[in-house]
Each structure stands twice: as C-alpha cells, then as structure tokens.
C-alpha cells in the first residue's frame, strides 16, 4: 500500500451531482481510512449515486474524488477497478449464463484485460487455485460449477462480492449487500465482511437495514436528500436528532 501518512485512503470533496433539475448530491464530502464505513439514508438520498461517482460509472457535476492521494473522478470504471476500488451492485448483476467459477475468474482476469495478455489462456494452475480460494472464503465452493443464474438471491449477492474480491481490491464498495437476505444469511454476510476487513480491505457499505449497519460498521455517514446530515459512530448517529428526523419525519 502506497498510502501516505495523513492522507485518507478515499476522500470525496464537495461532490455535487445534478440530473437535469434534480440535485441528487449537494456538496457531499467524506473521508475514509481503513475501516468499515456505513453509508445510510432514506430512499433517494443519493447513496448509490455517490457509489457510481466513486466507481467511475457517473461523472460528478462538480467536486473531486481522491483515492490514495490521486484524483480519480473522470476515470472509466475499469480504470478505477485497476486502481483498487471494486464494487457490487444494488440490483445484482452476476454473469448469469456463466458458472460461479467463471464469474469469479472474470474478476481475477482484471490485470490481463488491458494488455496483450488478454490473449493468453485463462485456465492456469494459479488462476484456478486463486479462484477456488476465493470461492472457499466466500462459502461458494459447493456451487462452483453451477450457472450463476440458478443461484438464489443470497448466493448471488455473495457471488458479486466474490467476483469483486477476485480483482484484488484495496477498497470494496458494497451496495445493499444484505437486501433480500434472511436474518441468518445477513449474519453470515456480516461475518464475511468483518473477515474481509481483517484481511486488510477497507469497505464502504450502503445499507437500509439499520440494525445490520449499526452492528457491522465502525463509523456511519448519513445521507438525506443529497447531503451529509450526520457522521460518527453508530451510537452517535443513532441518537442524532437530524437522523431520527430524516428517517421518521421531525416532530415540528
């Protein structure tokens, strides 16, 4: 890691995003170090828009995004993955007609795609063992040869994480990884996320399920109507009147 002392791993500076007349994000700033950062907020708060900007799928209307001290906005999504930020999607996008193994392999191929090495054979002992290892870590080994589209939603979400992991990221952006999961599946997912953190990966997790976010994240940023309204530990955020207001409607 080339991270310099004192500079945050990821820094979003006064990012705004307008879609026509709609202001999805207004002057959003946040910083993250190596941590599990929760990004919560009501529907339409701009959480996914912020993810799309960080991961290069959308350009910001104004503001800057720095990763590891480098300006990254304006880069294409595949370049941002190469820099070390991988993501999952709120609406899962597994490669349905490929097997689970091939899905993970597609992430492991990341360093090969930009060069002539795209035209070397992909099944090598090392590609196979690394993919198997990731399947093992994410609990997907049993489904290695199954078509991704045949998996239930919980496993598809897990597969998206496995695929993102295969790109060897330093930072993972997870967009509502617990959506549609049973309580038990969510618990297993939380365990997986903690393991990833312990293995040295920084995570930003968008989450709707408050209990899940509160128990998982070390720090939480609350977005509402495109603005950061609160930031702090789960306990601080939970007792913040602005947050309660945004979620339940304020009393006045």
């Amino acid at each position: 890691m080339s991270q310099q002392l004192g500079t945050p791993l990821l820094e979003v500076q006064r990012v705004s995003k307008r879609f026509g007349g709609l202001e999805a994000l207004r002057e959003v700033s946040l910083q993250t170090e190596r941590e599990i950062l929760g990004l919560i907020g009501p529907n339409g708060a701009g959480k996914t828009t912020l993810f799309n900007i960080i991961s290069g799928f959308l350009p910001p209307s104004s503001g800057q995004v720095y990763y590891d001290g480098r300006l990254i906005h304006g880069h294409r999504p595949h370049q941002i993955v190469e820099m070390g930020i991988a993501r999952t999607f709120q609406i899962v996008k597994p490669f349905g007609s490929l097997t689970v193994m091939e899905n993970v392999l597609s992430g492991y191929g990341m360093p090969y795609y930009p060069s002539w090495r795209a035209f070397v054979r992909r099944f090598t002992p090392s590609s196979e063992s690394v993919t198997r290892d990731i399947l093992e870590r994410t609990g997907l080994s049993a489904w290695a040869e199954a078509k991704a589209s045949s998996l239930p939603i919980g496993l598809q979400r897990r597969l998206e994480i496995a695929r993102a992991l295969a790109t060897g990221p330093q930072m993972l952006l997870l967009d509502e990884p617990a959506a549609g999961l049973t309580a038990q599946e969510a618990e297993e997912l939380a365990t997986l996320i903690r393991q990833l953190y312990e293995q040295g990966i920084s995570l930003i997790v968008i989450e709707h399920n408050m209990a899940f976010a509160m128990s998982l994240c070390q720090r939480i940023v609350v977005l509402a109507q495109g603005q950061v309204i609160a930031e702090g530990t789960p306990a601080e955020v939970q007792s913040n009147p602005a947050v309660i207001g945004a979620y339940l409607g304020s009393e006045t």
């Binding site: 799928f57 999504p77 490929l98 795609y113 930009p114 040869e145 199954a146």
Partner: protein, 330 residues
C-alpha cells in the same frame, strides 16, 4: 461434371462456414449483433481482387492483404458499436452494409456496377488452380483455421471478457473489462476472418459484383449462426452447412425451396430458439447423453464434483454448466 458441381457446392459451404464462424465471434461471443457482415466479406473480396488485378500481386499477398485491410476497416467501422447498443447497433451495421455496397457500385476504382472481372486463379509455384480438390482443401483449411481461432479465443481472458461484455456491460466494467476495447477486438477479429473468406470467394468465382455483398447476405450469415447455435463452436458450422447446402439440395422442389428454407427458420426459432446445436437444444442434449452416459443415479449431473453443503439447503441446480456451458471451459 457432377463431381465438379459437388466440389463447387462444398467450396461455397466452406466459405460460408468461415463467415458464420467469424460472425459468431462478434455476435455469439461479444454479443454485438451485426447485420453488416456481408460488407466485410465484400471488402475482403474486393481488396484481394484489386491487389491482384491492379497491382499484380501473388495470391498469398492478396490473401494476407485482404485479411489485414478488412481487419483494419472492421476496426474503424466497429466504432459505432462504442456509441450504440442493441437494436441501434443492428441498424448501424445495416447502414454500414448499404454504404459499403454503394461504394463498390459507384466508385470507378472498384469497377462500379460492372464489377471486377478476370480475377486470376491462385497459383503456387506456377501451378494454378481454380476449383477442384486443391481449392476445396484451401477453403476448408481456412475454415479450420477460423475454427481454431474461435476455439483459442474462447480459452483466453479475452474470451471471458467477450462473455462479460455480452451479458452485462456495466458488470463487465466493474471487473476491469474495458468494454470499448473488447468490442473493437471482436470487430477486428471477426472482420479480418470474413475478409479472408472474401478473398477465397473472389479468386474462386473470378468476378465480383456489388450485389453479391448486399444486406440480405448479412441476414443469411446471421441466420446460419443462430440456426446452428449461437455462441457455440459447433453450431455455426452446422448452420452454414445446412443453410448453404439446403437451397442446392432442395433444387428438386424448384420454386418452393425458399418457402421451405423460410419455414425451417420459423420453426427453429419457435421450437429451438437456442439453435440446432445450442447448449440447451434437444439435439445437443441427446447427443451428449448418447456419447457420455451419466454416472449411475445421477441423470445428468455426472460431473458435479461437489454437492451442496447438505441435502436440505441444496438448491435445485443443473450442473450441466460444468461440461457444456458456453464455450468457456471445454
């Protein structure tokens, strides 16, 4: 004479097998549906004919020239695919086909409507051959080469990247695939191979006319790919053989042959939309069952190495993917 006729048909079939396989890389692998493949076929044919007629270059130079020039033009003409997707791309490739044919037709350099005639037969070491078994072998050797390229690509990282681009461009970008780059790769490989087929066609027929490369021919090639089984290594071969040979074999029904041809396509799309030899087609399933009897007790999951964690939570999965999933692992 009869033998000569059969050989001629076999030469045409070989050329169209090459075309179908080359289009399969673009459309079957990378998911870029093109209705302009005949344009690249034509560009290859015209390039080699001009190199031969106007510059007097030997056949092998024409052949390589056709492949290189068509590949480069494919790169340029593939650029619209970076901006438009799906049905809009289909229309754009159609437009490309019209433009290319118009250039052949109205630019004198390309012979105009009178076409290019007297294209010399290829000759190696002074031995010249047009048609016959030597030419047949040449055509099928190139078809085999095209198949080898398709097979090799399917084993590479690029092959996997093509799949990701076809299935979901956003997810492809999220795993580090530069979607534009791989679309251009697919256009280059696909059109270069079609250019080689064009050269073989021109030097066999001996004369070229713009109308040979019209948009309808692009539909025929795409039909071959879909009819046989899009995205597979075997389907386009069978599709091209059947759809190219059928009009010849159906000569006895005279005027009705295109009715039968059309009906065949409609029936296929209704009942076997994945193609005759597609992964889930009746024929392919039967064939694989026939030649690899499954292990006892497992109807077709013979190769599933691992079972679910326990019986109760194991979802109903088909492990068919293991062996015959789209090209990716075999």
């Amino acid at each position: 004479m009869f033998g000569g006729y059969i050989i001629s048909v076999a030469i045409f079939v070989g050329i169209w097998v090459t075309l179908a396989l080359s289009l399969n890389i673009l459309t079957g692998y990378a998911g870029q549906v093109s209705l302009g493949h005949a344009a690249f076929f034509g560009i290859g044919a015209y390039t080699s004919a001009i190199l031969s007629l106007k510059y007097g270059l030997p056949f092998w130079v024409d052949f390589l020239g056709a492949i290189v020039v068509t590949g480069l033009i494919g790169m340029v003409l593939g650029l619209p695919s970076l901006r438009v997707r799906h049905d809009f791309l289909v229309l754009a490739t159609m437009g490309i086909n019209f433009v290319v044919v118009a250039v052949f037709k109205y630019v004198d350099f390309f012979g105009g409507a009178m076409g290019l005639i007297n294209i010399p037969a290829p000759s190696i070491l002074g031995y010249s051959f047009r048609g016959g078994l030597p030419y047949l072998s040449l055509v099928w050797a190139f078809a085999a080469f095209t198949w080898l390229v398709s097979w090799y690509v399917s084993k590479t990282w690029a092959g996997l990247a093509f799949h990701t681009v076809r299935i979901d461009e956003e997810a492809a970008a999220a795993v580090g695939v530069s979607v534009p780059r791989f679309k251009v790769y697919a256009f280059v490989i696909s059109s270069a191979l079609a250019g080689g087929a064009g050269c073989l066609y021109g030097h066999f027929i001996g004369s070229l006319f713009p109308d040979t490369f019209v948009f309808v021919e692009s539909i025929v090639v795409l039909s071959m790919v879909i009819f046989g089984g899009i995205g597979t290594l075997r389907g386009p071969i069978l599709g091209a053989i059947i759809l190219k040979a059928a009009p010849e074999l159906l000569r006895f029904v005279q005027d009705y042959r295109f009715t039968i041809y059309g009906a065949l396509l409609v029936l296929m799309m209704l009942f076997q939309p994945m193609g005759l030899l597609g992964d889930d087609s009746f024929l392919w399933r039967s064939l694989t069952r026939l030649f690899s009897p499954p292990a006892r007790g497992e109807p077709r999951g013979g190769e599933a190495e691992e079972q679910g964690p326990d019986g109760s939570t194991e979802p109903a999965l088909t492990y068919r993917g293991a062996r015959h999933s789209s090209l990716s692992k075999e």
